[in-house]
Each structure stands twice: as C-alpha cells, then as structure tokens.
C-alpha cells in the first residue's frame, strides 16, 4: 500500500522530550502557587530549625497568671492552659514533627525508588514478588499497624516513622514501577540496550529522568501524609510525651480547652495544615509542570467542552476558488455541501487552526475519498462536519448543507438527530470503537431501538437482519460476544451494521480498513460498495491509502496541511495528477507503480498546525518550488473536467515541466 511518507516524526518526538525536560523547571517556576508553597515551607523549616534562637520563651516556661491568653505583643499566638507561649511550643514541637516527616519520607523514597525501579527493569519473578508485597501492604490499615509498632516499641517515635515510611511505600513503588514500564517500552530505551548500554547506565540516563516527575509528585504527597500521621500519633498521645511539645499533642491541649479557649485550635492545627497543604500543592505543581500544562487547566475538560463552538462565517467577497468550485457543480443537488469549513483546537490559552477553509460536495450515492498524510486534517474535517470534536474545539464554516438543511444553524440536540439517521460514522479501530463493557448484540439492538424506536423483539430481529447484511453468520452466537472476543474484521462489520441501523443517507468512514489485515480490507471494501449499491447511500472515506481510494471512491480530495490541494474524479486523479503533492503521494504508493521498483518517499514532514507558511504550504518539500510559491497564498484553481488544484503551475505550465 502506500509506502509511508511519515519520516522525521521520531525525531520530532525526541526533540519534544528534550524540550519537556528543559521546560520543566521553567514551568515550575512560573506557577505562583507552587513557588509560594515552597517559600512558606522553607520559612517554616527555617524557623523550626532555629527554634532555640527564635522562640520568645522556653517551650515549658509556665506563666500560671496568664493562661489561655489571646494573641498579644508578648505572646504572638497566645498562651495555653499552663500559660506557656504557644509560638515557642510550636517552634520546638515542629522539630519532632518535621524530623518524623524527614525519616518517614526518606525510608519511603529509598524503598519506593529501589523496588519500583527493580521491578520495572528486571521483570520476571522480581516484578511479581514486589507487586504481591505491595498488594499485601495496601490491605493493611496503616494507622492500625502503626499502633501495633508503637505498642511494641514503647511509643518510640523513630520506629513509628520508619514503619510509616514502609507502609506508605507501595503507592510510590507502583508509581515508579508504572513509569519505568512505560519508558521501558519506548523505542529509544530499547535502542540504548541494543547500542550496548548496561542496565545501570540505562536506568541513570533514560529511566530516572522519566520517572523523576511522577516520583517527585508522589514523594511530596507522601511527605504531606507523613506530617498528618505524625500529628495524629501525637494527638492520640502515643508520640512525644507531654509536657514536651509536638504539633499533635498541642491539638490535644486545644481539645481539652475547646470550650474555654477555642482560639488554641487555630495555631495548633493551623501549622499542621500549612505544612501539609504546602507539600500537597508542591506535589500538584510538579505533576502539572511535568505533564507540560498550565496548573489546574484540567478543569476546562468536561463533557460540555465536547460540544464545539460553532461560528457561521459570513459569505466573503467570493474568492476565485469558491466561484470556481461552484461552476463545476452541474450535477444533482448534493447530499452534503460544505463551504469553507475550518476547525480550531485549543492550545494553551488560545486556539490553533487544524482545518482551514475546506469546501466540498458529496452527491447522492457518490463516494468521496479524502486522502493525505497523517496530520493533514482529514479526520478533523469530518469531525467538523459531524461536530464530534475533541474538547474545546471551535468550528467555523460559511455553510454546511445536508439534504438542504443548514447544519451550522442547528443546536446540539437538533444536530444529534441528524447524526446516526442522516449521517452515520464508522471509525478506524473497529474493536475500540465498540464499548468493551457490553455485548455487541446488545449494542446493535440499542442502536436499532434508538434510531427506529422499535420494541425489544423487533429490534432484535432488525439487528439480526443487519448482521446478515454485513455478512456476519450466526447472529445469535456473535451477538453474545464482547468486542474483545471478535476479530478486527468482525468488529468492523458490527460497527458498519450499527451505522446502518439509522438508515443514513451518508456514511462517514474514518480509515475503516487501516487497522485490518489486507485480505479483510478487501472484504470490508467490497461490503461497503455493495451496501452503497443496495441503498444508494453516499460515502465519505478518509484514508491515506490510494488502493482504497481507487477501489472504493468516485471522487477524491487530497488534503495537505489543513487545506484541499486537489480534487478530481478518482480516475483522472490517478492517471493525471496536477498538484506536485498528489504526484508525490501517488509515486510513493503502489498504485500504478512499476513492479520491482523501490517506492520513493517524500522527504521532510507536514508543517505542524500553527506554523503553516504564508505561501504554498507544500513549498518546503516540493521539487518544483519557485519564488512566487513563497510570497502569497495559492488559490484552488479549477481546470477542466471537475478537477481543481492549488498550485501556481496549474494548469498551463505544469504539463510543460513534466
């Protein structure tokens, strides 16, 4: 099939990874909440370390004439039931708590990193053993085990904190383990192994950097938890023995005086909250910086965000291309007529254009192929038509007419009524396009019930009929299976049957055969053609495979970098391509190639959305590039016989050059 033209993508990934590392600290420094939390934490630690110097009075110094005092100049945070200065006790008590946090976190980090990396890199028996131990530890209520240890070791704070570190380690082991497994499968790590790096070098050079982000996030959360648990132990009276202060037993003091002096609750619990919250926020900051997104931007994701903003663009003073495209439509009224459709996806705080002013028609019963390399906007074009888009997308169009109805003016629920019954859809991965949690029979009958409003028994009959139409034998048996129990070809037949349930006028198929074996591909294409002949349904077929286009389509539209570069009847397009990109694509595929010849590839890669050049977007990879290609956008020019191409050489000069 098409000798793939996707070079340089691995390169781009490596570069992105490198940029991610470089950007990590910069992004972290740009999060005010994280930086603030780190500063607060630093100040608290500093104050606690220098407690003897900073405390206004000794932590045990009593002043029985001045008990339960509110904050004043003498006692910044007031005094407790024995008139002791709360600030001084807090600073001294923090030494116990923070030391405990350091002990527990260190133990947890050592165990978590070592075992996680070991399990992730060594695999086999070690992997199984470590994961089993994790399961066992996760089943132990942590506080219970801590109490056991405290009972046995006579309320020994250090023993308790080491135990706490062990108890908290399974989560870290799992985080490190899954991060390690994720990179272990990456091609560059496998490459490093082949290149002869030993395990230690691979861990240091490739795995540790990848594990660092998730691990640091988890370690901050572990430290926060350690702080809370240490305080809880102190609160239960099982840690530091009064009158020595700890943050936990200061809360106990506050509890005793809850009615007399509720103020005591504020500083005693407050300091624990400040430290634990800071640690949590630092953890979240690391997570966000590592994932390469602005802090907290996740809240923009929701089901609601799946519904795109639809803007109807007013008709512009008609550029030549639009006029031209209309000139050649001396055919019956199209089923679908798309005019100047654009689609924007969110990137950071703004949007980036993915599809740029695409216009096309699909006649009744016609099959239109949309062809191009990955990343040219083929799938996004049909997503825009169907308005089934990624979160936060924006659809802009002059007009999308379907059977005479203007889709851009429809609300979401009216649009939903068009989907399924007017335009149906099948996708690239047949098995994952079906819900894994329901039997395929159930899913098919559900579609029938939804689109035809039939009862249970009738739906079942219709579903069986549909299954025989897509040539699936033994409807009863197959219907009881789950998607993962089917082969790709069978699953795609089910998906097609589901799409037919609403008796659509137009079927949109997004690379329906790409994930299938070659022999199954041919069967599915046959099936689609027969179904089209039986029902007179039109078809839009997105593909990068010229074989599929030649086999199944009447017309084809070639897309490059978000715009249409050529559209023509398939026969003309294959035999006489006008645009240099179409020519290159065809040369790199096996359609019409000389036998026993190496297929050439197109050097370079598709410019990324957001960095499209002003002039011809293919210029950088075009062998026929001229100065005038680079200066201004090239219009889509119609030539004879329903052919349009977006190239300065079309129509006159191109023939001469070739």
């Amino acid at each position: 099939m098409s000798a793939v033209i996707e070079g340089a993508s691995a390169d781009a990934e490596l570069r992105a990874a490198a940029e991610r590392d470089a950007g990590f600290l910069r992004r972290l420094a740009r999060q005010p909440l994280t930086v603030g939390s780190a500063a607060v934490l630093f100040l608290v630690v500093l104050a606690v370390v220098f407690a003897p110097l900073l405390s206004p009075s000794g932590p045990m110094e009593q002043d029985l004439l001045n008990i339960y005092a509110l904050p004043s100049a003498d006692h910044l945070l007031g005094t407790d039931q024995l008139g002791r200065d709360i600030l001084s006790r807090m600073l001294h008590g923090g030494r116990v708590t923070l030391l405990g946090v350091v002990q527990a976190t260190t133990v947890c980090t050592l165990i978590g990193m070592t075992l996680g990396l070991l399990a992730g890199t060594l695999q086999g028996g070690v992997e199984v053993l470590v994961m089993r131990v994790c399961d066992v530890l996760l089943a132990v209520p942590g506080l219970v085990l801590l109490l056991v240890v405290l009972a046995i070791f006579g309320q020994n704070e250090t023993a308790a904190m080491i135990t706490l570190g062990i108890i908290m380690s399974p989560t870290l082991i799992r985080v490190v383990y899954s991060a390690t497994v994720a990179v272990r499968e990456e091609p560059y790590v496998a490459g490093a192994r082949v290149a002869g790096l030993n395990s230690r070098q691979i861990i240091m050079r490739h795995i540790l950097p990848a594990v660092a982000g998730p691990a640091l996030t988890q370690i901050s959360l572990v430290a926060a938890l350690a702080c809370l648990v240490e305080a809880a132990i102190g609160f239960l009276g099982l840690g530091v023995v009064p009158p020595n202060p700890s943050w936990g037993n200061m809360v106990t003091d506050a509890q005793q005086a809850i009615v007399l002096a509720p103020w005591m609750l504020v500083p005693s619990g407050g300091i624990i909250a400040v430290v634990a919250l800071s640690l949590t926020l630092i953890g979240n900051g690391i997570r966000d910086a590592y994932a390469g997104r602005a802090s907290g931007s996740v809240s923009a994701y929701s089901w609601r965000a799946l519904t795109p903003v639809v803007e109807r663009e007013d008709r512009r003073p008609a550029p030549a291309e639009v006029k031209g495209v209309e000139l050649e439509t001396d055919r019956p009224a199209p089923v679908l007529s798309v005019k100047r459709l654009s689609l924007d996806l969110p990137r950071g705080r703004s949007h980036v254009r993915i599809v740029d002013g695409v216009s096309f028609d699909v006649g009744p019963g016609e099959a239109l192929g949309i062809v191009g390399e990955s990343g040219c906007g083929k799938s996004m074009t049909i997503s825009g038509v169907l308005r089934v888009v990624p979160m936060g997308a924006r659809v802009v169009a002059e007009s999308i007419g379907f059977r005479g109805v203007e889709l851009t003016t429809l609300g979401e629920s009216e649009m939903n009524a068009v989907r399924g019954t007017g335009i149906a859809f099948i996708s690239q991965e047949p098995i994952s396009s079906l819900n894994p949690a329901f039997t395929v029979g159930h899913q098919l009958q559900e579609a029938v019930r939804l689109h035809r409003g039939t009862g249970r028994a009738e739906s079942k009959a219709v579903a069986h009929d549909l299954m025989s139409r897509v040539r699936l034998p033994e409807a009863e048996v197959v219907g009881r299976k789950y998607p993962h129990e089917l082969s790709g070809g069978m699953a795609q037949r089910i998906a097609i049957a589901r799409a037919l349930a609403g008796e659509p006028d137009l079927l949109v198929a997004d690379e329906p055969t790409t994930a299938l074996d070659v022999s199954v591909q041919a069967e599915i294409l046959d099936l689609l053609r027969d179904l089209r002949e039986q029902s007179g349904m039109a078809l839009i077929l997105v593909t990068h495979d010229w074989g599929v286009v030649a086999e199944a389509c009447d017309r084809a539209m070639v897309m490059y970098a978000g715009e249409v570069v050529e559209t023509a009847p398939v026969r003309d397009l294959v035999s006489n391509p006008h645009h240099p990109y179409t020519q290159a694509l065809l040369r790199s595929s096996s359609v019409g190639a000389e036998p026993r010849q190496l297929l050439p590839v197109i050097s370079g890669s598709v410019p990324a959305p957001g960095s499209w050049p002003t002039g011809c977007r293919f210029a950088a990879r075009c062998g026929l590039v001229q100065d005038r290609c680079l200066t201004a956008p090239v219009p889509l020019v119609p030539t004879t016989g329903g052919v349009s191409a977006r190239c300065v050489l079309v129509p006159s000069t191109l023939e001469a050059v070739r």
Partner: protein, 313 residues
C-alpha cells in the same frame, strides 16, 4: 463468576496469615514478656518464668504463632492481659460502633464522591474546580483537627448534634444517627474528594475514547452515553478507589472514636497500645485486616460483574 470468588478467597487466606504473622513476630520483638507485664515489676524472676512457661511464652515464636493460629481459626483470639476478658468478647461489644462509623462514611463517600465527580466531568468549569480544590484540602488538612472544628461549630455553638458519645441503634435509632452525624460527616468529607477525583478522571478518559466518539457520531443521546456507556466503563477504577478509601476510613475511625469518645475498636486499640496489651492489639489488627480483605473481595466480585474481560480470565 464463582471462579473469581473462589480464587479471591484462596488468595485472601494467605494474606490473613501473612498479616497476622507480621503482627505476631513484631510482638515477639517487644522488650519484656507477657508475664512481666501481667505480674508487674515486683514479681520474682521464678514467678515470671513459671507463668511464661504456663502461657507457652518460652516457646520459639513460630511455635507460639502456630498455637495462636490454631486457636484463632477456632474463634479464640486469647484474652486481654489488662482486663482478662477474651478478645473476641471485646470485639463483639465494640464492633457495632466502628462498623456504624465506617459503613456510614463509606456510603456517604460513594454517594457524594461519585455524584460530584460525575457533575465535574459533565459540566466542568466551576464544579471541576471545586472538586480539585477539595482534593487538595483533603490531603492537606488533618481530619482530627477538622473534626474538632466541626464539633465546635455544630455541637457547641449550633447544638444540632451531640458533641460526643455514641447511642446504640437498639436504644434509639434517631439518637444513634445523630451521634454518628459528626464523625461520619468529617470522615466522608475527606475521602469523598478522592473518589470524586478518580470518578472525574476516569469519565474524562472515557470521553476521549474511540467508542464514545463513535457513539456521539452516531447520534446517541448524551445522557445515554454518559450514564450508561461511560458509567459502566468508569465504574471499575472508581470501585478500586473506593476499596482503598475504605482502608483509609478504618484508620480514620480510630481518630474519630478518640475525638468523639465513642467506645469502638479504635479507642480500644489506642488504650491497649498505651497499656502494651499485646493479645488485644494482635487480635484487633488481624480483625481490621479481615475487614479490609472482605471489602477487597466484594470489590473483586463487582469488578467481575462489570468487566467481561475479568470474567473471561
């Protein structure tokens, strides 16, 4: 399905043995012997030795463990050194309190966590923000402190609920519910945000999936996609989170029982820890673990019902 349950039960038994062994071996490391604790510091070495022999405490740890295990399987978890009462008796008397707290909080966590997670996933924006902020607060605020603040507000100032104590269900169901309101509320508040976060994340992941794209593109109504198709797929990970939350809740009941003066397993655990009452601590630790194992088992069964791939294995 039955196979899943049987297999899980077979895995649960060794887990219980391992946990009890750990607790037992740790116990044997304790300085001093049971007899010393029982007889007090004035006892003669001969008396201590004699009692240790009677109790079997002079035997190797594994022999002691074996006899403990045999008795435990038969339902005898030995007796408290302090009160002399059988551990099983203590358990039976105090279990209703802890169970009321843990189960009540778990139900509340499921309802609040799953609902708010779904709202955040469907509506996003403000609801999503609230869930996120709460999840941070939960990891950063000590629950025992929150419980006291709640006690001051709702118990002392507003006087809606009693500040402390526990009323058995048999005495008065309404007072029982009131006495649980504060501790259950505080416990659930903390853990619900974690469930909400997982619910939202799983649903959002499903919303980006291929099958949801296909359902949307074929005109399924959004309620059907969200509440049927996405819900069934997101339920598995949410269940796992809920079972982990239960482990956290059990730890939380210890604190709540202490704060609100409730005579449950947790307050017994704290008292016994302070008294070095090892048999009680061992018995309780094993029992806590058993509760976790039961919840994990139920989770696995639910997983099997939800996910056809688990059944197939």
């Amino acid at each position: 399905m039955l196979g899943v349950i049987v297999r899980r039960l077979l895995l649960a038994a060794p887990l219980m043995v391992i946990i009890s062994l750990i607790v037992f071996v740790l116990g044997s490391l304790a300085p001093g012997s049971v007899a010393e604790s029982m007889l007090g510091s004035s006892a003669t070495p001969e008396a201590v030795r004699e009692l240790n022999r009677q109790l079997g405490a002079d035997q190797p740890v594994l022999v002691q463990y074996w006899s403990w295990l045999q008795r435990a399987v038969a339902g005898d978890l030995s007796s408290s050194i302090v009160s002399g009462r059988p551990v099983t008796e203590l358990l039976a008397a105090r279990l209703p309190v802890t169970l009321s707290l843990a189960v009540g909080a778990l139900l509340l966590v499921i309802v609040i966590g799953v609902c708010s997670g779904m709202v955040a996933a469907v509506r996003g924006g403000f609801a999503g923000r609230v869930v996120e902020v709460l999840a941070v607060l939960v990891r950063g605020l000590p629950t025992f402190w929150l419980a006291m603040i709640a006690g001051v507000i709702f118990g002392v100032n507003l006087m809606w609920v009693p500040v402390s104590g526990y009323v058995p269900f048999g005495d008065s169901p309404s007072d029982w519910a009131l006495s649980l309101a504060l501790p259950v509320g505080v416990l659930a508040f903390g853990e619900a945000a974690l469930v909400a976060i997982v619910t939202r994340a799983e649903m959002l992941a499903a919303m980006r999936s291929d099958y949801v794209r296909s359902l949307r593109a074929n005109g399924y109504p959004w309620k059907r996609i969200v509440f049927k198709h996405i819900a069934k797929n997101a339920a598995g990970p949410v269940l796992t989170m809920i079972s982990l939350v239960f482990v956290g809740l059990l730890g939380g009941t210890i604190l709540m029982e202490q704060i609100f003066a409730m005579p449950g397993l947790g307050s017994q655990m704290v008292t016994s820890t302070a008294n070095h009452d090892l048999p009680v601590i061992q018995g309780l630790a094993v029992f806590y673990t058993a509760m976790v194992v039961v919840v994990f088992l139920l989770t696995d069964v639910a997983h099997g019902l939800l996910n056809p791939k688990v059944m197939a294995r």
